[in-house]
Amino acid sequence: MLALTTPYQTIFHRWPASLKVVMLLAFTTGLMLIQSQMLLLCAMGLPLCLIASQGRRYLWFSLKLLRPLWPFVAIILIWHFYTADLQSGLFIIFKLAAAFTFANLVTTTTSLADFSALIEKAMAPFDKNGAQGKKLGLMIALTLRFIPVFIERASLLRLAHRARSRKHGTWRIIFPLALSALDDAEHVSEALNARGGAAPR
């Protein structure tokens, strides 16, 4: 399944999604207010300790997820090297890394189904007869289904183009790809309508 959820079981999988999201919000808000170095080190240590408590493999898995931050770390370090203020640069990097690690902890231990149940619950007060929640659920399901269909269609068109052309300029497939995706959408919406539509009338 296309997801960031970790294959390693942790105790955090069993915590309710709402608790984890509230903890994340509290953590990142608190992080913004931190001024002292000691507190920042503690804040950095908290998600790391939680992750490390679940075994070395999960710790390694989580640390690998920090990779996208490297370019920003480099930029910040270079900047603060030139302004001779490396300390505040490290301060920013630690704040970023702490927030990122905690958010990854929540993401990797919460399943898509748990998250969508949480969204539906959060939407309930604004949703009189459940129609909006249902519509959103339908849209999420459709999008998840469209992604692999679209990718497969693109690779089929690429093969067809390669079979008929000596050139390998694949950008040309973008037009048939767009049109076939729109035709799919047309068919799906007709099928949806024939089965009672997306919302109660």
């Binding site: 296309l2 960031l4 997820l65 998250f115 849209m139 049109l179 035709d183 919406s189 949806l192 309508n193």
Partner: protein
């Protein structure tokens, strides 16, 4: 008819959220300057030029929501709540804004022909409206002045201009082949983007044989 058009909007919103996600899988093209270009913001522009302001923003929001739920849909396989704590958070928040502004401009540029109108709309929404929150977000997250942050993302601009042109070419191609699918090209700004008025104003095309 309302129900039918609502179904179509629901499906198109889901489709375009999927298109933004799929565009994130296109291997990035690296310029001579060493700056990578990803195709994802092209998807945001197309949301606006084809779906219009409201449905386009909905598609971008749906995409963001799925990313936040933990699907690795952003270019480079990133996703999860952590991306909202990363320095590019401003650009993510800018996605639905950019799609909305693109669609809004598109609906008001009805007098221009489809190509120039979508290029201008994509420029206003996909570049200007995207970079304002993007640069602000970057400057807050890495704690640098606005101008310095702007300089950091400026190398992406040539790629964005290419995307604006691509967006215009694609939108025009779709409009000439499936005019009924271009919800944004409505003569008057439809409040709830029902294609009903638009279908009535577009004379039946050859592919609408009954």
């Amino acid at each position: 008819m309302i129900g039918k058009n609502m179904d179509k909007t629901v499906v198109l919103v889901a489709l375009f959220a999927a298109v933004i996600a799929a565009l994130g899988l296109i291997p990035k093209i690296t310029l001579i300057s060493g700056v990578p270009i990803t195709a994802q913001s092209l998807g945001i522009m197309l949301c606006g030029t084809i779906l219009g302001a409201r449905a386009g923003a909905q598609a971008a929001l749906l995409f963001l929501g799925l990313t936040a739920l933990g699907l690795p849909l952003l270019a480079g396989g990133r996703g999860g709540l952590a991306v909202f704590a990363s320095p590019s958070v401003g650009f993510l928040i800018g996605f639905p804004i950019a799609a909305f502004v693109t669609g809004w401009s598109m609906q008001r540029l009805g007098r221009l022909s489809i190509g120039p109108a979508s290029a201008l709309a994509a420029l206003l929404g996909g570049i200007i409206a995207l970079y304002i929150p993007g640069v602000i977000g970057l400057s807050v997250m890495i704690d640098k002045p606005l101008l310095a942050s702007l300089a950091l993302v400026a190398p992406f601009l040539p790629g964005d201009v290419i995307k604006v042109i691509l967006c215009a070419v694609i939108t025009r191609a779709i409009y000439s082949a499936r005019p009924q699918m271009v919800l944004a090209k409505s003569p008057q700004p439809a409040p709830d983007l029902d294609a009903a008025t638009q279908a009535a104003d577009n004379p039946p095309q050859k592919d609408e044989a009954h």
